[in-house]
Every structure is written in C-alpha cells, then in structure tokens.
Assembly symmetry: C2
Homo-oligomer: 468 residues x 2
Amino acid sequence: MKFGKVDRNISKRLKEIVGNENVRMEEDYLEKYSKDETSGVITKKPDVVVFPTSVEQVSEIVKLANEYLVPITPRGAGTGLSGGAIPIHGGIVLSLEKMNRIVEFDPTNMTVTVEPGVITDEIQKLAEEHNLYYAGDPASSESSSIGGNIAENAGGTRVIKYGPTSHHVLGMELVTPTGEIVRYGGKMVKNVMGYDMIRLIVGSEGTLGIVTKIILRLIPKPKYFATLLIPFEKLEDSIKSVPEVIPTLGVLPSSIELMDKESVEMSKNFLNENIPNMDAEAHLIIELDSPDKESLVKEYMKLGDELMKMGAIEVYVADNRYQRSRIWKFRKAIAEGIIAFRPVHCMEDVSVPISGMPDVVKASYGIARKRDLEVLVFGHVGDGNMHVTFLKPVDMENRVWKEKLEEALKDLYELTSKLGGSITGEHGVGLKRRKYLGIFLSDHEIEFMRKIKKALDPKGILNPGKIF
Amino acid sequence: MKFGKVDRNISKRLKEIVGNENVRMEEDYLEKYSKDETSGVITKKPDVVVFPTSVEQVSEIVKLANEYLVPITPRGAGTGLSGGAIPIHGGIVLSLEKMNRIVEFDPTNMTVTVEPGVITDEIQKLAEEHNLYYAGDPASSESSSIGGNIAENAGGTRVIKYGPTSHHVLGMELVTPTGEIVRYGGKMVKNVMGYDMIRLIVGSEGTLGIVTKIILRLIPKPKYFATLLIPFEKLEDSIKSVPEVIPTLGVLPSSIELMDKESVEMSKNFLNENIPNMDAEAHLIIELDSPDKESLVKEYMKLGDELMKMGAIEVYVADNRYQRSRIWKFRKAIAEGIIAFRPVHCMEDVSVPISGMPDVVKASYGIARKRDLEVLVFGHVGDGNMHVTFLKPVDMENRVWKEKLEEALKDLYELTSKLGGSITGEHGVGLKRRKYLGIFLSDHEIEFMRKIKKALDPKGILNPGKIF
C-alpha cells in the first residue's frame, strides 16, 4: 500500500476539524511523537500530531485519512513497550491525551465510564474513594492511559485473581477504520448479542478501531490486604515454590511477583532505598486480599510457613497502606531504573505455562552468558509472564550488541515456543516483535487474523506496520 | 447464497471421511437433529448427520462442504435455547457428541484440555476431585456440552464473581470455515499475540469456526460454601435488595438468583418437592464461597441481617453439600418444569444494568397481563440477566398466542433497549432473536460484525441463517 503525505490541504482540513491549536507540526512535537518507551526500535516522525476532543472529530479525521490514504497511528500516553505508537509510515499521529474526561461514575451499577486518555491510576483512586475497586493494575498505572491498556490488553500485577484488562470492560464506543461511530455492550454484566467485538478490539493495538469511550466494571473493594516480601537464598527455590503454593493455600493470591538480585539492585539504585536481604538471589512479592481480617491473617501465616519450608530466608508481612506501597513502589521502579540507567536494553514479555517458568528463568541467564550480555529477570511469576531484560554491557559496541541480542532473542523465543508459550503476555507485538510471530503461529493462524484486518480496514489506514 | 444438497456422491465422500457408522440419514436421526430445546422456532431436517471423531475429520468435512456449497450446522448436546443448532438451510449437521474425551488434566498448570463434546458437569466433577474448580456453571451443566457453552459464551449461576465461559478459556484448536486447522493460546494465563481470536470465537454460535479442543483454566476450589434461601413477602423488595447488598457485604457473592412465585410453583410441580414459604412473592438464592469457615459465617450472618431489614421473611442457610444441592436442584428444575408442563412458551434472556432490574420485572407482568399471557420470571438477578418466560394459556389458540407473543416481545425488547440492555445475556441470538437485532444495534454496528463473517467464511458455509 502506497500511503499519502499530509500536505497543506490536508492540514487545513484537519484544522477545520479539531481547531488550529490541536494540529501540531512543530519539530518538538514531531520529535516527541516519533517514539514511545520501547528501547531499540526505530523511530519515525509523523507529518502531523492531532489532538481531537470528541468522537465526532475522531470520526472525521479517520474519514479524511481514508479519502487521502494517509495512515493514522492512534496514541495514548506513549508508555508502550512494543513500539505500537510509532508512526512507522509517517502520516497522522492521533493523540487521545485531550480526551481524558471521566464521563460518569455509577455506584449503583458499579461502573465508571471514561474517555481513553484518563490515566489508569485516576480510575483506581476514584473507585477506592467510593469503596469500589478497579482490578486492572498495569505496573505503569501511574503513567499509562486506560486507552493504552485497552489497546494492549494490559495485564499487570493482579491478573492471577482478577484477569487482564479485557475482563473489566463492559462497553465501548469506537470509531471504525472507515470512520463510523459504533457502540458495543453497556453497563450490563452479560451480553452475547452477536460477536464479542469488545474483546476483539481489546488487544488489537490500535489496528481495528479507535476507542473513544469505555465502560469499566468495578467490584467491591477488598477490605483487607497483606503484601508479603519474601527473600530466597536460591532463585530456583523461589520459582519452584509458586506452583506448590497456590493449591495449598486454597485461594488465589492477587499477585505473585519475582525480582531477581539484579532487578533488586536496579530498583535500589533508582530509588536510593533498600529492602531487607539485598543479597538474596531472589525476592517474591505475594499479595493477598480478603473481606475478613482474621481470615487474611490465617492465610498469610499458612503461606509463610509453606514458603519457609521451601527455602525462604524470611517472610516480611506488610498489612498497612504505607508499608505495602513501599514494597510496590520498589517493584514498580525496576522498569524505571532500567530506562534511566541502562537505556540500551531489550525488555521481553514472554509468557509460559507456570510449569515452564523455572526453565525460562534458568535459560535466560544461560542465553545472556553465552552472548556476553547482561540480563535481569523480573515480572509476574504467578501467571508465567516474565520480563527477561537483556542489557547492553557498557563497553560493548552497538553493532555487536545488535547481533548478540538478535541471537539471544531467537534462543529465548524458541524455548518459549517449545514450552507452549507466547512471545508476549501483556506488552503486545507492535513493531518490536512482528518479525518473530512466525515462530509462534502458523501461516494459517496468522492469515486467519489478517483476514479480519483486511475486512475491517480495507485501505490499511489504522496503525499500519504493527502486529503483522 | 444458493446452497447445494447432500447427494449420493457427497454422502459417499462423507462415509470415506468418518466411516459408514458415523454418517446417518435415517428418518429418526434427521428428526432428532432438526431441533434443539428452543420452543416456538421452526425446525428443519438436515440431509445428513455426521459424527466426526477427530479434528482432521472435521477439517475434511468442512473442505468438502466448501467444495459443494453445502451448509454445515455444528452441534453440541442440543440443549441450546436460541435455535442455534437448527439446520435451517438443510445440509450437514456436524455433531460433536463423539468428540467427548478429556485429553489431559494438568494439576500443576491448573488446566484441563477437553474435546467439545464433554458434558460441563464432568469437567466440574473432575476438577473438584483434585481440589480444583471449574468456575463456569450454566444451569444446564448436567446436560450441556462445553463446546456448546463456548459457542454461546454460556453464563449461568456464577458469573458475578467468576465471569462467563470466555474468562475460563486459555486455548483452543478449531477448524476455520474454509477447513484449516488452527490453534490459539495454550496453557499460559496471559497472551496478547495478535488478535484475541479465542474471545472472538467464544460466543460466535458456530458461525466462525468449529472448536475441536479447548484448554480451560481451573482455580483452587473454594473450601467453604454457604447457599442462602431467602423468601420475600414482596417481589419488589427482593429485587431492590440486590444492588444494596453487594457493596455492603464488601465481597462478591458467587450467585444471586431470583425465583418468582410462579417459578417456584413450576419447580415444585416438576420435582414434587416443597421449599419453605411457598406463598412468598419471591425467593432469592445467594451463594457465598470462602477459603475460611469463620469468615464465611460472619459474611452470611451480616448478609442475613441486611436482608431481613429489606423485607426478607426468613434467611435459610445451607452449608452442607446435601442441603445446598437441594436448593440448586430446585432452582435448576424451573426450566425443566417449563419444558415438561408448558411446552408452548417463550423463554427470554434479557440482560440489563442492575439498576434497571426492577423495571424489567415489573414491566414483564404488565406486558403479559395486557396480552392475556401468563408469565414467570426467574434468573440471574445479581448480574441483571433475567429469564422472563411467557407461557401460552392452555385455552388460547395457537394463532392468537403467536400474535400476542410477538407484541409482548416487542414491548419487552424496547424496554430493555431503553434501559441500555441486551436482547441476550447468555442464550445467544441464534435463529430465534435475529430479526430483533436491529432494535439493539445500528446498521453500522451489525455491518462491522458481518464483515468479519464474510471475511472468514466467504461462502457462508458455517451455520448460515444464525445471528444476522
């Protein structure tokens, strides 16, 4: 497909649609919107960045783009980790940052209706003020937007118990790739009226529609929480304990996270804070929630005993908001530390059945060692989704790094595929992983997906060059 | 589309694929496979019923059907309530009854891999024997197959807390409408590799693919259960208590079911059993589960107090398996009673935001009264999904019944649409509801769905005449 460029006529039409102040072509804008938070992918400046403020404006922009064959790259908060928001074919970056209103909070139906630009954390806080709970919690919740969470079907720290973003979406309004405004679902919990378009759009990485409004389901806020920090002398023991622990406990923890020693070190340096047993090979973070305090105490006492038997050095229990938030802050700072201190890196997102977790972690170190790369391993060990992150050694040449990384990724992906896993659990394929899709899916499997893209977006206007 | 018939040549080819004994054209087979459990829809005999036993056979059948333009109606256990399994264009009924093996039970990864013909109850029992839990629970669990649950995205009695069928599916193998064998997902909990084909297929009513293998997620079995039976003097009070109760409790019950007086009477007559307070206007059934016994007791004591304040006559607590199963048996027998005693009926499946529940229930009686119809109301009041069921009065002529019913349905659907609800929460559109889709979805919204059907099934071979 040969795409058109945004010329004087098109930019004039865009200004008529969204107003002069919402069409930006200045160099600093083009530069800022040429990338997201993904390291190591190529960047590309758009011709123009537009900031619509209503669904009607989004619809008109998409119709204009179809008319002139100009590609549109939809964009949330720009915190993506697969290059999904990079306008690889130039054209229009359509930023949803100004569509950031909370449209309606409905405590009776336990729903909140929001525009895509709302930051996820804001939704969590609003719900909790009313004793309700938005269970989605990507580690980037303080900076990522709900629209971006939807585009990637964000996972995060509570998927084991509460499911990924797609489980929390009851309704949405979107603009189709040809510019029509459509609405699916609503405030009702159950709906099987035709195909599940909501779940098709969630995770479609901005290639099948631009979501302009979202109805999210809230649940009663759990009354009591306990966050356990558990250092292990041996990394292997920490991972092996996970599939043992869940059935014993008889209840799903909301989170089971792993930080290896290097991850802990990274966070420590970023925050200038310590946690106990810094020299342990690994730390687990396990969070439990419960409607009953005594029941919660029983659960974590039992869990603690089990973990001690499996090689834990100690089990630290945080059951107040301050201590809990310190642990989570430490966990969430790993990625920030990597971006700040080791900008040349490659953060992976492989997802495997939990029985394969020990293999993946062990192999990651072996793969890195073989290629003289550094590596750190952290992530959602309870659901088998691990952020193996390769770092360029400071003294390694860029050219060598690229070669070695390519070999390392190939090894990692082949192992993941062999274990029946996925190349991405929550960050998306985007630009970064599309060339590896064939390791995981057959031609028929990819083609069955592509038929949908071709049918819904015949001109290939929406986020071209992503996923496939 | 003009479809072909199954002639001697095609039936010979079918016999070569699945073996003589698995190709049936006898009158009693054609009769049995001309319908499902839906009342009041037209039936139609297929040309042939085939019983494949492997995915390769399914693939060959689909390819053959594409070659000769013969429609295929996939079929599970035939318990559907929207006419989805009726071969309205004749051709082949492809029954999955003989693909009923449990392929693998994997306690470490907490998954079970099954063929579509397995009865849902069998999966529940297998899991529970190993202290695990399959959380899906359509009221028809003892007779419906997991493949049918997937085709309709079955809901049932535990959706409030655990979500519909689609939340429990981690992976699937399917035959596409053009006969290719594809596999998506696996035993991993998280996977965002391309479009969410699994969620697109779940609920697609056999129109986008034939599922031949399913990987289901299991969770730890809750240790303690309490099932509360709560008669209310006034129906209205019972419904109003629902949105009050959930936030107060601070925890999601797994079930909140409603039976009105007529539903209770129906079940009583079918089972020849009583429950307390038969003269109450309504009974609620609320089930709680918990990892801790004392915590569970506290919860139901608190809940009971609240319900008494809201007009409950009494709160009966069943906390052992025998008593609990008696209550559930009573609830599940309503539909059986209707089918047995009042075969000419129309069971609806409207789903609304819970704030609209009192309106729907109240209006249902008014609508029935205005048309001289009988009605009973029961269902999943906790998630806003109600089985309003109109009954033909015994002395009403069939012609009159059809006219009056048509008017009643129109009223019910228009109210549901006005309340922002859906025509179907769990039974599907199928044959029964397709002509009403336009009340709920715009042309653009329907067309956006249809484009997918056309792209994936260009010859319209799979289950034609359903949904649209």
